[in-house]
Symmetry: C2
Subunit: 366 residues, 2 copies
């Protein structure tokens, strides 16, 4: 087993770094979970042992996010991209649905939804990337079944500080790269979904939190296994769920609950640390003549920090040097280029400090 202290800092946008403690526990229990003699991957999903793991994971998640009792928590498969179809299949009734466009992911969501329902764009930042159109300019329909938005655009680095206010239709949020990074008002939403591979755990698990009164209206074309109502009625076990991913997610939830930052605990400690990490990195970028982040200050992501080098020709050197300094996976998404530092929960402040130190050194020497 390698020493966790010697591991490099991993800035991957997802699948992303997982806390060392979680990985060490998962490794230690691999062949024998709690004296059962079998590993978690080998357990029947309907047995008492996995039942315990599953129930604890759901309870911890509900506690961390303060999920109201009238919301179902579903552990599904297919990633957030599958939800782009499954949200309209489950919630649109083939009628009107409004979409806020703030970057690559919300555009994908809108595009897929248009195959299943009557989509209207409520607002679009295409002419002003790195901003969110002011609330007063949104075109919302009274008969919309929901308003969809992406809380944090993983590629574009654009984040909603708060859920949209004063919207009549139920809010549906893609929270993939924001969930569990800070408090989030689930009760303000009809549905919140998130791919696990940023702040939750391994790829292959998708979390869906949905208000129960919205269940039971899936379109006829919706596969039974992806019908939220069926999933809720069967405790996410209409068939075999991704048991290992749920187990690791549960370990991550426990890890979050254990976190302390001064007087703060759990998700509040995580949020304070994330705010400090983001302030440190944006501070470095804004004070620099080499690096630039073009997202409006009011909607800068605390999780994904894209930045460009004003001299693009230095990009390869920057990445090679970062690698030598143990700073991994900093290359930006191919659609926008440049760099991107994803600083999810598992990234310690020391990792961001190491990145900032390297960035300053690189700027001085170039």
């Amino acid at each position: 087993m390698p020493d966790a202290a010697t591991r490099p800092y991993n800035f991957s946008a997802g699948p992303a770094a997982i806390p060392d403690d979680v990985l060490q526990q998962a490794a230690a229990e691999m062949l024998d979970w709690h004296g059962s003699g079998i590993g978690v991957m080998e357990m029947s999903h309907r047995g008492a042992q996995f039942g315990e793991i599953f129930a604890q994971a759901e309870a911890d998640l509900r506690e961390l996010l303060e999920v109201p009792a009238d919301y179902a928590v579903l552990f599904m498969q297919g990633g957030a991209l599958a939800q782009n179809a499954l949200v309209p299949l489950n919630l649109s009734q083939g009628a009107a649905a409004d979409y806020l466009l703030t970057g690559s992911w919300s555009r994908k969501s809108r595009h897929e939804a248009a195959r299943y329902c009557d989509v209207q764009v409520a607002a679009d930042n295409a002419d002003a990337p790195g901003t969110i159109a002011p609330r007063s300019s949104w075109r919302l329909r009274d008969d919309a079944r929901y308003l969809h938005y992406c809380v944090n655009e993983t590629i574009d680095g654009v984040e909603f500080e708060q859920p949209p206010q004063g919207v009549t239709a139920p809010l549906v949020a893609d929270a993939s790269s924001m969930i569990l990074s800070r408090r989030f008002d689930i009760a303000a939403h009809g549905c919140v979904y998130a791919g696990a591979q940023k702040n939750i755990g391994p790829a292959g698990l998708t979390l869906v939190i949905v208000r129960r009164d919205l269940l039971g209206h899936a379109l006829p074309a919706c596969p039974t296994v992806f019908d939220y109502g069926v999933a809720a009625a069967n405790g996410s076990m209409i068939n075999t769920p991704p048991t290992w991913a749920i187990y690791v997610a549960g370990l991550v939830f426990q890890w979050i609950k254990r976190q302390r930052e001064g007087a703060l605990a759990g998700l509040d400690a995580i949020a304070a640390r994330n705010a400090a990490k983001a302030a440190l990195l944006y501070g470095c970028i804004d004070a620099s003549a080499l690096y630039v982040n073009r997202v409006h200050a009011a909607c800068r992501s605390r999780m994904n920090v894209p930045f460009q080098l004003r001299d693009e020709a230095l990009g390869a050197d920057f990445l090679a040097g970062a690698q030598r300094h143990g700073l991994l996976q900093l290359k930006g998404h191919k659609s926008v280029g440049g760099m991107r530092a994803s600083i999810y929960n598992a990234m310690p402040l020391a990792g961001v400090q190491a990145l900032v130190d390297y960035m300053r050194e690189f700027e001085r020497s170039h």
Copy 2:
């Protein structure tokens, strides 16, 4: 790390036992895959490291199953139950599709498919459970887009010895609980799918092997992420695949390739061992006055052996004693009752011998 030699024998129908060697390697590499400093769960699916893992897994699978070059191998999510919808969504064109019914799983497949296409039952063993209707009695349509069957009924213990012969329409096989247990003629099929959690690896991964000329005809309602053609064109990475499950599956494929049984190697060694295990267990059952398996000898499953105790009142005692002997998860599926021993690839002959010894002892003492 527990000693693998002391682990109990796990007869779970799925998620099922995974070879000790595989679990030990996965644990050892958890924080640091091949000196990369990061674990497999933390790797970008688009990076070179995971790319290597993915390519090796696909290559090994193609070698083991002798998958012809004109077949795509897809690593998907949602389980075989999702495929019950995704097969007709991708392959039926909303037209005719014939279904062979041999047990619980093929009945579920037929039921879901009827939502998407014109389903006809080609044959049904409802009046003669534990049999497969003779080929000559099947009702097949000339215009059927495919004939669907379940190679091995996990609950009922009914297995096709060979793929159906003389069928004009492409064969579509649910091979979940049979795949990689012996040679299997992929080229005789249009499409073969399998949930991973029996002989492949962790739950949350579904394998789809499909002839490329059948791609590109998905129904409009098919979610983009589940369109076989889109998945094939994007190398199963239209979005983040279940990376950990693919990695573990790859370790299992390597383990299969390493197996030796006398002069036999790889899948042939596995098949010989599986035949010996099944012969030992059925031999014990058939020689007994207490245990009974009612499946016709010609179609008895080599993977899932359901059996009843003629005195059903002894069931609880039998299970409690088995547990004390380190023989786990032998309770039959709730829909059929009794017992079930799933003896997938990871179950050694010694495990079946231990079960048979216990069964004989239990019969003598009751």
